[in-house]
Structures are given as structure tokens and as C-alpha cells.
Symmetry: C2
Subunit: 324 residues, 2 copies
């Protein structure tokens, strides 16, 4: 069995070999640019691990794995326009480096390429893979829209938040694993268990992200610590604190969330202090752990090589104790 870093290397090599040299270059250069900015290649790694888990050939799964990464990066290209994000992985985002029109259209053609790579599977599973991929793609779009709606919504609840991150983040991890499992020869039932592993892992992963934003080590966390607090982003911590804060805590929270109140370090420290008093970090960790347990429970149901299952388990655990 290959290690995670060997799988990442395989994927990176496949991505470099799939450089798009077609015309017009305005459409294809941004695809190459974004795909080569790197990243953990989490989704294609999961796809390949799933194929391997059921004894399938990792090399045979490489095109669909690149397809998943193309899809993920297509969503980033369009999300960055919508979020007006100037940076992606520390470099200029596509719409910032070129322009919005190019980021729209290059993203569209990238989406076609994602389908083109994704369908490089055997005829016997083609339709099922397509159904999963399309369902996942719709889910990611729905999650992004709900996330944007939250910006202007009052009273977002924890179940609504969990549903949003399930759609926006978790379905794609689950979908990657489910497609990989089918390529590896798993039956539909086993593939669904692996989907459930990925979906629950994805929710736990996003909750971890919410926690790291506030409590991450500033030296190791890639983004600005407290960024979610500064932008009043409705994370688990934000929503939970809203739910349970009373009296002075509630007043102080409302004060700091008013854009006219102070910002910067002062705001981050004040809100973090409230979070500490309310114990929302612990509540978030409990929620995260409950999803991690659901993920591992689903993994246990799968009838496959114990060592390979163990590797997936370790990978999941490492993802959830990361510091960046």
C-alpha cells in the first residue's frame, strides 16, 4: 500500500502531465495556474485510498481523482469571485490576477474538464459515478449559496449550520470516497458506508476549522487567527455563543458584532474571552468528536483489509488533530 505522501505525489504528477495547452489561452492558463498552486490534494487522496481499500488499481483511479481535484478547484475559482477574495493559497486568486469574466468562463470550462476526467471509469459503473458526482456538485453549490445567505441571516441554528457544511464541504469528501470505492470494485452498500465515513469526517473537519480559527497556533495556522470573528462569520462557535449567552455576555457579544464597535485585536480578544466564559470551544470539540465517531463507526462496518482500514482511520485522526 502506498503512503499518503506517495499518493499525493502520484496526483501531483498526474496534474502536471495534464497541463492544458488548448486555445484560447485565456481559458486554460488560469486552470493550470490554480491546479499548480498546490494544496493537500485531500479529495483525490481519499478517492485513491478508497480504490485501494477494495483492492482496485490506484493508477486506474487517477483520472477520476484528478477530476475531483479539478471540480474542487473550479468551485474555488467561482467562490473567490463571489467572496471577493484576493488571495488563494497565498497567491492572487484567478479573478484578481486576470479578471472576473475570465474566472467565470475558465471555471465553466474547468467544470467540463472535471466531468471529462471523471467519466474515465468502466462502463459498468459509469452511470452510478455520474449520478454521485452530479449530486455532489449540486450539493456544493447549494452549500455555497446557503453560506452566502447566512451572512445576512439572523437566528441561524446549529442544525442549519451543520446542514450547510454538510453540503458545502462534507458531501465532496464523501463523494470522493464513494466514487473511489466503486472504482475499486466495492458494492453499492460498502461504497455508501465509505461515503458516510467521508461525510461525517468532513463535518468534523469543518468544525475543527472553526475551532482553529480562534484557538489555532498563530505560527502554524495558515490564515489570520480570529479572521472569522473579525468578519462576524457564522461559525459553530459564533452560533453556539449566540444561543447560550445571557445577560452581560449577550450584551457584550451584540456590542462587538456591531460593525461600528472596535475591530482588530481588541474585538478578537473580547469575543474570545466570551467564548471562553461560555465554554463554546469545548462544545465545538464535543460536536466534532461526535461526528468523528460517526465517521469511524461507518468505517468499521466496511468489510475490507484491516491494515488499509487502519490507514484510513489514522489519516482521519491526523486530519482532526492538525494545527493548520
Amino acid at each position: 500500500m502506498q503512503s499518503i505522501s506517495q499518493l499525493q505525489q502520484l496526483i501531483n504528477q498526474a496534474i502536471s502531465e495534464k497541463q492544458f495547452n488548448e486555445n484560447p489561452t485565456e481559458l486554460y492558463e488560469p486552470i493550470n495556474y490554480l491546479m499548480l498552486l498546490g494544496g493537500k490534494r485531500l479529495r483525490p487522496v481519499l478517492l485513491l485510498m478508497a480504490t485501494d481499500l477494495f483492492g482496485g488499481s490506484v493508477l486506474k483511479a487517477l483520472d477520476p481523482a484528478v477530476g475531483i481535484e479539478l471540480f474542487h478547484n473550479f468551485t474555488l475559482m467561482h467562490d473567490d469571485i463571489m467572496d471577493k477574495a484576493p488571495l488563494r493559497r497565498g497567491k492572487a486568486s484567478v479573478h484578481a490576477r486576470w479578471n472576473e469574466n475570465i474566472a467565470i468562463l475558465s471555471g465553466d470550462v474547468m467544470f467540463v474538464e472535471a466531468y471529462t476526467q471523471m467519466i474515465k471509469v468502466d462502463d459498468a459503473i459509469l452511470r452510478e459515478v455520474l449520478d454521485i458526482f452530479s449530486m455532489t456538485a449540486s450539493g456544493v453549490c447549494q452549500g455555497q449559496q446557503i453560506d452566502m445567505n447566512f451572512e445576512h441571516a439572523d437566528g441561524v441554528t446549529i442544525p442549519e449550520y451543520i446542514e450547510m457544511i454538510r453540503l458545502k464541504t462534507a458531501m465532496l469528501l464523501g463523494g470522493s470516497l464513494r466514487i473511489g470505492a466503486l472504482i475499486g470494485g466495492a458494492n453499492a452498500g460498502q461504497a455508501k458506508y465509505l461515503y458516510s465515513f467521508g461525510e461525517n469526517l468532513g463535518i468534523a473537519f469543518q468544525l475543527q476549522d472553526d475551532i482553529l480559527d480562534v484557538y489555532g497556533d498563530p505560527d502554524k495556522f495558515g490564515k489570520q487567527v480570529g479572521g472569522d470573528i473579525l468578519s462576524n462569520k457564522k461559525t459553530f462557535l459564533h452560533i453556539k455563543a449566540n444561543e447560550i449567552a445571557e445577560g452581560l455576555d449577550e450584551e457584550e457579544l451584540n456590542f462587538w458584532r456591531n460593525p461600528e464597535s472596535g475591530s482588530g485585536t481588541e474585538k478578537v480578544e473580547a469575543i474570545t474571552a466570551i467564548y471562553n466564559r461560555l465554554g463554546v470551544r469545548q462544545l465545538a470539540e464535543e460536536e466534532m468528536n461526535s461526528y468523528a465517531e460517526k465517521a469511524l463507526f461507518a468505517l468499521e462496518q466496511i468489510d475490507a483489509d484491516a491494515e488499509k482500514k487502519q490507514a484510513l482511520r489514522r489519516f482521519a485522526e491526523e486530519l482532526l488533530v492538525r494545527e493548520n
Copy 2:
């Protein structure tokens, strides 16, 4: 055999039945809105006619036909953002009625829906249909980018222009027919002839559009007559006039194309007078007729019911003598 208007009715009915009621409504309302703005349903009609030509069931082809129309409208939704077009079929475009972010993301999910309807074909032709659809989709994106590049390009040639409209407009007509043919049971060779019919018809159709913009009957032409002239759009007439104008005509063309020179009726009349002196209308009609002939030649190569071929021929001819 069903008449064109019967086919249009079938398609309109299928579209109304496929109203999207999913959440979040921000993503699905714009799809319903745009799909119900109407239009000639040219692409799905061609798809159904192609299925019928080879003796297939039009009802069985209805989902992919709706898929083609979804795809076409997805490209309109994104193109309208890029072109900053406030109107579509006389109503507010999606980005104008909602906002750009919604038009981007609703378009993305519409594209997924297009794939979802498109793959409702028999297993035996699924992969081929997908390949044609994806190739067509990439072509349309490429054509749109090249068209945008033309805005700032000097010295665009007629072959470059024809290639642009082939990608942006004609491939989708060809692709619709080719997919319809496969659904109807045509072999790959016959389906390709029908593709060629559609592609050449599409080029002729676009050239006709260029001519109508200048010489159309203002009472019948849906858009403002002379709109292409006012925006200095690089149409066949524009490029051809550039190529052949000499002396005073050339000077006058350059004068009017300077944004600081007059605009409005004066500009349209002056440039039309130059076009008349140069005879570019006739040259455009000759070019259009040569593509129409290629289209009809390809149609003749097809071994199918003579009456149904005749119906396609008539449909093509009517498209090319339209006044709007």
C-alpha cells in the same frame, strides 16, 4: 411526424413540468425564470427532429432535449454577466434581476442539471453522448472567450471569425442533432453527417444574424437595427469591409469606428452606405449560402426517410430566410 410547433409545445410542456422547487430558492428560481422566458427552442427541436429522423421515440429524447436547452440557457446566464447585458428576451437578465453572485452560482447548478438530463439515455450510447456534450460545452466556452478577445483585437480575419462562430454557435446546433440522432438509433457515421448539417447551418444562421442586424426590417427584427455597427462589433460585415475598403472608404470607416466620432443614426447610416458601396451584404449572403449548401449536402448523405429529411431541409431554409 410532428410539426415544429408540436415539438416546441412538447418541449415547453416538459420544461414547465421540470420546475425546480429545491432549496435554496436563490439558486433554483433563476433557472425557472430563465427557462420560462421562452424562445424558439431551436436546439431541443433539432434534437427531437434528429431522433425522429432515424425512427426513434421523440418522447424518449425529451429529457436530453431539455438538457440541451438547460445548457444553452446556462451559457446565456453566464454570458449576460460577462457582457453586462441588462436584458434577455426583453426581460431583466438574471444578474440584473438578482445579482452577479446568484447568476454565477445558479448557472453552475444549471449546468449540473443539464448533465443530469442529458445522461437520461440508454447505456449503449451514454459514453458517446457524454463525449459529444462535453466537447460541445468546451467549444461554446472557447467561442465565447474568443468573441470577447475580438473586442480588443485588431486585424481579425474572416477565417478567425468563422471559427469563432463555429465554436460559439454552430457546434451546439450540430451537437444537438448528433445526440438526437444517436438516441434515434443512428450509427456513428450517420450521426456525424447530421452534426455537419447542424454545424454548417449554425454558421449560416449566425451570418444571417449579422446581415439582419444591418439590413433587417426594423418592424420585424427583435433588436435595434444597427446595434452591431454602433458597438463596433466584429461581425462578418465589419471584418469584410475592413479587408476590402480602400482610399476614402477606408478613411471614413476608420473615422466612424473612433468612439469620439458621432454615434446613433448618423453612424449607422454612414457605415451602411460604405457597406453598400463595398457590396459586403452580397459577400455575406454568398458566404451564408455556401454554408447553407454544405449543410444541405451533408443532409443528403443521410440514409433516412425522405419526407423527414425534407422537413429538416424546410426547417433549415425557413431559419435562413427569417426576418427576426
